[in-house]
Structures are given as structure tokens and as C-alpha cells.
Amino acid sequence: MPQASSISVLVVDDQLTMRALIRNALQQIGFKDIREAPDGEEALKQLLAKPANLVISDFNMPKMDGLALLRAVRSHPPIRQTAFVMLTGRADRELVQRAVQFGVNNYCVKPFTVQGLRDKIEQVFGQLT
């Protein structure tokens, strides 16, 4: 069983409040190495400089949205294996289908609970300790 504390996470969302809420939820789950980026462009830059094990990304963002970030991650060999969880709204069924085509590992519908986010991450990594 993987330890949450050994998994590095990059949280990508243009809203500071949402980043803080996701960070807080991840800390409650046990994650310790948590980084943040306000848009896809900055996230990609950060990942290429220092890879992460998991990306949790919003979809609607300026500069580069979540889907474009997902495609960019999957097309850069050094980081293409990064686990990628997309945060979406309720009405974004089509977006999820596109994200699946581009290799998303899972998705989580906003607003989410801590347990809901944990379940989604555990579906990717297995049960966390």
C-alpha cells in the first residue's frame, strides 16, 4: 500500500481559494509534498523542472486549460507517466470523455468531499496509508 506522504502532488487551479481547499484536503489524507500552480502553462513548466507523481488539475483556467495540460504532459516523455486527476463540474460529461481519450487517470466532480477525493486518488494508486 503506497504511503500518501511519499507521493508528490501538483495542484493546478486558477482560484487561490480552490487551491487552498484542495491542499487542505490532501493534507487531511496524508500528503505532504504538495505544490501549486495557477494555470496549465505554469504547471507544465514546474513539472518539466521537477516532476510530480500526481497532478490534480482544474479544467477552466487561463493560458492553458486542464485538457491542454493533460495533452502536454502525455506528450513529454519524461513526465508522461504522471498520474493525472481532473477536477470537473457536474455538466462536463463530454469533457471527461475527451480527457479519457487523452489519458486521464481519473476525474473528480466539484464540489467534492475529502473522502470523495481520497477515493478517486486511491482508484489510481491503490489504498493509501
Partner: protein, 190 residues
Amino acid sequence: MMGQDLHQDDSGPTIKVHVTQGESHVSSDPNVVMTTVLGSCIAACLRDPTTGIGGMNHFLLPDAGDGRRNNGDAVRYGAYAMELLINGLLKKGARRDRLEAKIFGGGKLFDGLSDVGASNAAFAERFLRDEGIPIVSSSTGGLSARRVEFWPATGRVRQRLVAVDNAPVEVRRPVPIVPAVSNAGDLELF
């Protein structure tokens, strides 16, 4: 769904869009006026003054002010309600760095141990401050309900206080309308 009511008055055709709890609406149409009635709920009116694109939401945080339960879910819901409005504005062409806000509601319409309205207002103020969106005017708290009209194209707002006894029951004792959380997605990836 939002109610739309077309009617004629002295200034030309007006399109009234009523925004009820859990909804948000965005427009740049100069004929549109968004209306809502608030008790302890909050309506945030956000607008990009350069493009004249504006919008209103209407929300009530679940369990806000209730110290017995985890407030994290309430804040996550509130942040989501604000995000829906902001994303709607950005999709129409508004710029985030130009957005300004007017907030209304958060009244205390009946005696109780907790002041749900104050918690809602505090959330909205903190969210907007953290996101760097200036609050250019606000009317929150108090003991009355509010009828609010917002013209997104100009940013004009008209507010009327409504005596509690004259307010609709859903305004006097609102029940949070919260979308399903966590595993709400219906696409099975696993």
C-alpha cells in the same frame, strides 16, 4: 431553471432573469436585469466594467455557522458556487483582473443560536479578498430580507428591504440546495 419574464416599460423591452438559490447567470445584454430575493443567502454580482459582462449567483452554504459539523464541505461548496459564476464570466469574455463585486444578503431573519447569514457574508468577503476581486459595494446582515435587481451591462443595482413577514417562505427559512458531492460523476473509469 431561471425564470425569464419579457415585459415592456418606458425604457424599452426588459428581460428579467430571476436567479434562485443554487443558480448563477451571466449576460452583457443591456436589456437584462437579474433579480433575486435574499434572506440569509448571499448573491454576488460580479462584473467586468470594460466589457460590460456581468453575472449574479445566489447561494447558501450548507451547515454554515454550525460548529457541530465539519465546515470544510460548506466552504468547498461556496468556492464552487463562486467558481461557476467566475468561469461563466470568463467564458463570455470578461477578464479576471478587471472583475469587481457587489454582494448582498446574509441577513438574520429569525432568532437562533447561530447566525447563518453572517457566516455566508463572511465567506463571500473572504473569498473575494483572497481572489483579489474588489468589493465596490455591499449590503449584508441586518434583520430584513432583500429584493435585489442587477443590470449587468451597467453595473447598476437596486435593493429594496422586505419585511420578514412579507418574504416568501423559501427566503425566510431557506434550505441549502447543494449539488451531489464526491462520486457524483456517472462515467465509470474503474
